[in-house]
């Protein structure tokens, strides 16, 4: 893992980001920062624009206006693969794997950016190819070890249990060596103990020097893991701050629970 830029305090800076899809305003001009080394969560009701924000930040969608600045660099019009190469990598909300390949090959494939060998090297089977392959295989084992899937390396990815598939999704993203990792609802569908171990895993990812931006519905996870929470509702950020402060915010409570009197309880 390469060290984040020392000169900029923000790993990610989003400025006035807006997305209009047809007549629908998916994002109405949001601005926020993700400090280097932090775990920041983006929460909000369904349809609030969380996944849209992820898609725009990682280049899968183009914004109507606004700017995404990653480690001091404007990401405008860069394709997802270029953005990944810069060190900004995401996971997907629905489990996303190379389902027909083995678990090992999933991670090996995802180490694409760490390889250098091109067509000529592959065709001529140069010695550098063998050295690089050995290195990539070692890195694959290391990553599988890290997420706890080492014992499942030879299994076909599509045959993994759901929880294991979520872990593999994380392993794939980690293989791309992110300095900023975007996790889209990693705990969705996990049972409480799986969620708890996933949480520990995210903490360890951060300890390895990776900044994390998290979209999550599991409030227990969000509130216990985040340094900062951003609340998105109907395309706008309605609250931001440390978990404890956000939990007390009147507007947040209204957005989540409605305006009934019991909401304050």
């Amino acid at each position: 893992m390469s060290a984040p830029d020392a000169d900029s305090a923000a790993a990610l800076e989003v400025r006035d980001l807006a997305v209009h899809i047809g007549g629908l305003v998916a994002l109405a001009g949001i601005s926020f920062q993700v400090p280097v080394g932090a775990i920041v969560s983006l929460i909000g009701p369904n349809g609030a624009g969380k996944t849209t924000a992820f898609n725009v930040i990682t280049g899968f969608m183009q914004p109507t206006r606004g700017q995404v600045v990653f480690r001091g660099r404007d990401l405008a019009r860069l394709t997802p693969d270029r953005i990944a190469a810069l060190g900004l990598v995401r996971t997907f909300q629905r489990t996303s794997l190379f389902a027909g390949c083995s678990v090992f090959d999933n991670v090996l494939t995802a180490l694409h950016l760490r390889g250098r060998v091109g067509l000529l090297g592959a065709l001529l089977r140069l010695p550098s190819l063998r050295r690089e392959e050995a290195g990539l295989r070692a890195a694959t084992r290391e990553i599988l070890d890290f997420v706890g899937l080492a014992g499942r390396a030879d299994e076909t990815a599509g045959n993994l249990a759901y929880g294991e598939q979520r872990l593999l999704g994380l392993a794939i993203a980690l293989a791309a060596e992110p300095t900023l990792l975007l996790l889209d609802e990693p705990a969705a569908g996990l049972n409480p103990s799986e969620t708890e171990s996933f949480k520990q895993l995210v903490r360890r990812v951060r300890e390895r020097g990776t900044t994390v931006l998290l979209v999550e519905h599991d409030m227990q996870m969000v509130m216990s893991i985040s340094d900062e929470v951003l609340v998105l509702n109907q395309g706008s950020i309605i609250a931001a701050g440390p978990p404890a402060a956000v939990q007390r915010d009147a507007e947040v409570i209204r957005a989540y629970l409605g305006t009934g009197k019991r909401a304050a309880a």
């Binding site: 990598v89 494939t109 995802a110 592959a122």
Partner: protein, 341 residues
């Protein structure tokens, strides 16, 4: 591992075949089948590993055949300049390499064009491309002789220690030539597929958004695959030109592409051995039936064969048998305790 040994044994058997089997007719059939297998191997790189269906693959084959034939024969063509462009006959191997390069260039062009519009549009672009090439070959009589065909194409030659330059004109020599080029193409595709590039191609086939999210450049790798695939198809076309020694516009016919697709799909797309197995079956089946059944029965048997394979072995012959071997293995190992992985 056992696959590798089996492959080596098969190669030895194939290589020594002309020494212990004197039937020249069978040898000629194996040669032409071999040329088609090389084309199928190239198609498999696109269809099997990147998942893109090229239904104009005969175009690259035909371009290779025409390029190699024209370069080795020499040609003059009037393209509107003051003097016609005159190209003197080139040595056959230069012509052959020219075929590989020109086909590869067309592959690059088609790759760049077509992968902006993928899926069904890619299929349409490739079909149209092959049809346009056939029309060009048919109507640009000045260059291609049109339906009169290019005749008397020289065979490939080889420098052999002690014997100097020999032309590879006999049936056995042509057979060995095709076998050598075929084995080489197989190894080239195997090298690509087992490399980082191959993994990127499979990643695009399996899950494109995920592949992009970990930094795989989609267009780049699809173009690389098309270039390599087209170049190998061009090599097959070059072999065809110098072995059959006559090239007409029919090399661009849709049916040849369909034959390649059948070979790849029945053998097992996305497996290295698939096009070889499928190619041997569907290349030799019509010939095997020829002596034993009337033509209409031959085609019925051929058709039923395809339907049965698609129906019962939808992933192809090679994956089906590989799966069978994997099922058998643990059962055989289990009783002897402690053995196994």
């Amino acid at each position: 591992m056992s696959g590798r040994i089996g492959g080596a044994l098969l190669l030895v058997a194939m290589a020594t075949l002309p020494l212990w089997m004197g039937d020249l007719y069978v040898l000629a059939i194996l040669t032409s089948t071999g040329i088609f297998i090389i084309a199928a191997i190239s198609l498999n790189l696109l269809l099997g590993f990147t998942g893109q269906l090229s239904l104009g693959h005969a175009a690259f084959f035909g371009i290779g055949a025409y390029t190699s034939a024209l370069l080795s024969l020499g040609f003059d063509v009037d393209i509107g300049l003051a003097d016609p462009v005159v190209v003197a006959p080139k040595p056959v191997w230069i012509a052959f390499l020219g075929a590989v390069v020109v086909s590869g260039l067309f592959g690059w062009l088609i790759g760049k064009l077509a992968f902006r519009v993928r899926g069904a549009y890619f299929v349409i672009v490739t079909i149209s491309f092959a049809e346009v090439m056939r029309m060009v070959a048919l109507n640009w009589v000045d260059l291609t002789e049109g339906p009169m065909a290019l005749n008397n194409i020289p065979p490939l030659s080889l420098w052999w220690p002690g014997r100097g330059v020999i032309t590879l004109a006999t049936k056995a020599q042509a057979y060995w030539l095709v076998l050598t080029v075929g084995a080489l193409c197989y190894l080239l595709v195997a090298s690509v597929v087992r490399s980082r590039i191959g993994r990127a191609l499979v990643a695009l086939r399996e899950n494109e958004p995920l592949a992009r999210s970990v930094g795989v450049r989609v267009t780049h790798y699809l173009v690389v695959a098309t270039v390599v695939s087209a170049a190998i198809a061009g090599a097959a076309g070059g072999l065809y030109a110098h072995c059959v020694r006559i090239v007409d516009p029919d090399v661009f016919l849709f049916i040849y592409t369909v034959t390649m697709v059948i070979m790849v799909v029945s053998g097992g797309k996305g497996t290295l051995a698939g096009p070889v197995v499928g190619g041997l079956i569907f290349g030799l089946l019509p010939q095997a039936l020829r002596g034993t059944a009337p033509p209409e029965v031959q085609w019925i048997v051929y058709g039923i064969g395809i339907i049965l394979i698609v129906f019962f072995l939808p992933r192809g012959i090679v994956p089906a048998f590989a799966g069978l071997a994997r099922l058998r293995m643990p059962r055989a190992l289990r009783p002897s305790a402690g053995v196994g992985s």
